[in-house]
Amino acid sequence: MSARISAKTLRHLIVIGLIALWELLPRAGLIPELFLPSLSSTLIAGWTDAGEYGHALAVTLYEVVVSMAFACGGGILLGAIVGSLPRPRVLIMPMVSSLYAVPLVILYPVFTVWLGIGSESKIAFASIYGFLPTMLATAAGIQTIDPQLLLAARSMGATLSQRLVRVIIPAAIPTVLSGLRVGGALVIVGVVVSEMLISSAGIGYLISRYRTILDSPHVFAGVLLVLFLAIGFNAVIRWIERKAAIWQTGTRAGQANDDIASGAMQPAT
């Protein structure tokens, strides 16, 4: 253990390496600036138009937060319900995943007809985009729950909602959390992509605008902001994960801690 550098350090080294590459590759002329402007010129572009980017970030952030609530909240709830009731599951799940098979991005311009071209359509699009994977992941995670636990809860008179909140969701926590990660990331992508397609505000709008005029440093300044959104979201998830760590004691993720702490059990592979 001690012979190796810590995971965090290595990760930071990798990040630093990537940053250095980002600066050096374009500078050395290995990648044309059009495709990847150097980090410094990106930062300068972002800094000189900080006001514009700040405004765009506010718009995007609002859309992301609202969509996140719909996508993740709704996805987990519905996934849990559908996943735990066998009949709706076999009936609905195939249709839901088929629905997701419709390439929404292509239809997005048409959707704006009904949803308008403001934030609503972005929120709707991103919500659907993030909702389905969250729901599918949650529903699938529910199926790995030990049925004995549900039986026990039922015997104690747990209502459907109590079973959902007190048994199904905590038992599926690891799956739900990763569903949340996927869903949340997709919400960010969904908002940005829909802004890129149709809008007059937001980071996605800036990205596509600057892209049309080949202003790559400004494009990547936008991408950088998206990355910051992702970092923020990741921090929130980490926080939830820490809070939920005790819930995970029954799972591999939770127990790895104990085993490493006691110097026992080498990894299974």
């Binding site: 002329g29 044309p32 600036e33 059009l34 495709f35 402007p37 311009p109 048409v110 704006t112 007809v113 009904w114 308008g116 071209i117 397609l197 149709i198 809008s199 007059s200 709008y205 596509s208 605008r209 600057y210 892209r211 049309t212 005029i213 080949l214 202003d215 790559s216």
Partner: protein, 296 residues
């Protein structure tokens, strides 16, 4: 034989008709070269395609050449393709009573910020001394959003503009083909490196392309049929496209012509309106080395 890779900005845009005609009439073959056509999503993507080495000759506006030079992509316009925004129109739904000056404070749809339609919208704002919000809705969103009332007007390209005006869904309140003073809206572009390395190939390619223009002018029926097929549109709309767009295209393509410099300058000025900061002098944008000799 050498292969020239031609990059085209959208399928239903007149450069596609030119290139397809050149292929079908075997004009490239007559020049002793082969052609490979690739269709991109828009002008910027086409330019990126060339920069990435996936296209040898493309059609794009001067503004992109200028911006590209600032980003280290050295290319020039070698042939003048069009000197006006033919087929581009500012449209409102048929039922609407709005005129251009009534658009003050309204919403107008464009395809993408910084694109050709955006430049025209900005020109309208400046020229007509009004102000409206430009909403980028993408090519696919123009008509749906106009019809649904999400926007009051839209800057529509051809042949979509002909199509919806013919079907009675929308009407034109400003025709950019005539309203905007002549400027070099688009030209055939090659990388400097490529022009130096294979001048023969470039020359042959423009010969074939301008041969196609000549052929199209001389063969109305064949061309209308081709447009109808390529665009999946009824012949009457194809005919409109032929009369209002194809027939207006430059036939000589000579970048050395007297009016070209000013036309390029005007085009760059328009782009400046759209937020383009990377303007380089006109002489860096054009090349007069190649004078097309239309293939017969």
């Amino acid at each position: 034989a050498d292969t020239i890779r031609v990059g085209l900005p959208t399928k239903t845009y007149w450069p596609t008709t030119i290139a397809e005609t050149a292929v079908r009439q075997k004009l490239f073959e007559k020049e002793g070269i082969k052609a490979e056509l690739t269709i991109y999503r828009s002008g910027a993507e086409t330019f990126e395609g060339m920069a990435a080495g996936a296209a040898d000759i493309i059609l794009d506006p001067p503004s992109l050449v200028s911006a590209g030079r600032k980003k280290g992509v050295m290319s020039r316009i070698v042939a003048n393709a069009a000197m006006g925004n033919f087929g581009w129109q500012l449209m409102v739904p048929t039922k609407s009573t709005l005129d251009v000056k009534d658009l003050n404070g309204k919403k107008v749809a464009i395809t993408a910020a910084g694109s050709g339609s955006d430049l025209l919208a900005l020109w309208t704002i400046q020229d007509k001394k009004i102000d409206f919000t430009r909403v980028s809705v993408g090519g696919g969103g123009l008509v749906p959003n106009l019809l649904a009332g999400n926007v009051e007007a839209a800057v529509v390209y051809s042949p979509l503009s002909f199509q919806i005006s013919k079907s009675g869904e929308a009407k034109t309140i400003l025709d950019y083909a005539t309203a905007v003073p002549p400027n070099l809206t688009a030209g055939w572009i090659v990388l400097d490196k490529f022009a130096e390395a294979k001048p023969q190939l470039v020359q042959k390619a423009v010969n074939a392309l301008y041969g196609a223009v000549a052929f199209m002018r001389a063969n109305r029926d064949v061309t209308v049929k081709l447009i109808a097929e390529l665009y999946e549109m009824p012949p009457e709309i194809a005919a409109l496209e032929y009369d209002n767009t194809i027939m207006k295209l430059e036939t000589s393509g000579d970048m050395g012509a007297a009016n070209v410099s000013a036309a390029v300058q005007l085009s760059l000025d328009l782009a400046k309106l759209g937020g383009l900061k990377d303007i380089v002098p006109v002489e860096d944008v054009i090349s007069t080395k190649f004078k097309p000799v239309p293939t017969k």
